[in-house]
Amino acid sequence: MSFHDCVVVDIANGRLDPTAAFDFVSDPGFGGFAMFVGRVRDLNHGRVVTGVSYDMFDALALNGFRRIVDAAYEEFGPGIRIHVGHAKGRLGVGDLAMVVAVGTPHRDEAFRVCRQVVEAVKHTSPIWKQEHYADGDSQWSEGCSLCESHGSAG
């Protein structure tokens, strides 16, 4: 059994918890811990952002998270721990959108696994970001097409 923990947290019910994520990936045999946290920032492409709504296809996203961590275990071996968490719903500036924490025996693996998992989650997870601006406008962010990475599209 591999030690990973993939969660989706609806902002209406709770918050992502970096401390709990760090604790989850802890082990007496580990010397290196890398964590990434993504938060909503107040400015994007020069527009003042008041919040972000994350839409998510939960079941598919969690499936994808598990595949991403399985790929990391395949590459780096089973003796590591990974936590992947993503928020959904309407987040305010400073709210945590994403937490990835990795514990490994040595630091190089921790950095590499953390980066790899973050990029994979961002590029392949069925999650959509709608930015809300100070002027009242809202806009869905441009993103990564899943067609290319999964074969030919029409």
């Binding site: 961002k122 441009e142 993103g143 899943l146 030919s152």
Partner: protein, 86 residues
């Protein structure tokens, strides 16, 4: 077969309940669903939504499917515009 397509992200709001019901031949593949949804979108959706379909993927409840994959027996599908999580 009856196919129900769930809408996410920029497609939300294009249909009541964020779903489209379509009827396709038994054993239809993703490519046929894409074609049928595109025709539907050209009539019922704003131009931007229709254009976005070209860059969108299709998924069952558990997997992103390829154009040649058969639709699942339960007919439950989702259309996924380009993703922007994190």
């Amino acid at each position: 077969m009856k196919v129900e397509v769930s809408l996410f992200g920029a497609f939300r709001g294009h249909e009541p309940g964020d779903r489209v019901a379509l009827t396709l031949p038994e054993g239809a593949r993703v490519a046929e669903l894409r074609e049928a949804l595109t025709q539907h979108a050209q009539v019922h959706w704003p131009a931007a939504g229709s254009a976005l379909l070209k860059y969108s993927a299709f998924a069952s409840q558990s997997d992103v499917l390829r154009e040649a994959d058969a639709l699942p027996a339960d007919g439950q599908m989702a259309v996924l515009p380009p993703v922007s999580g994190g």
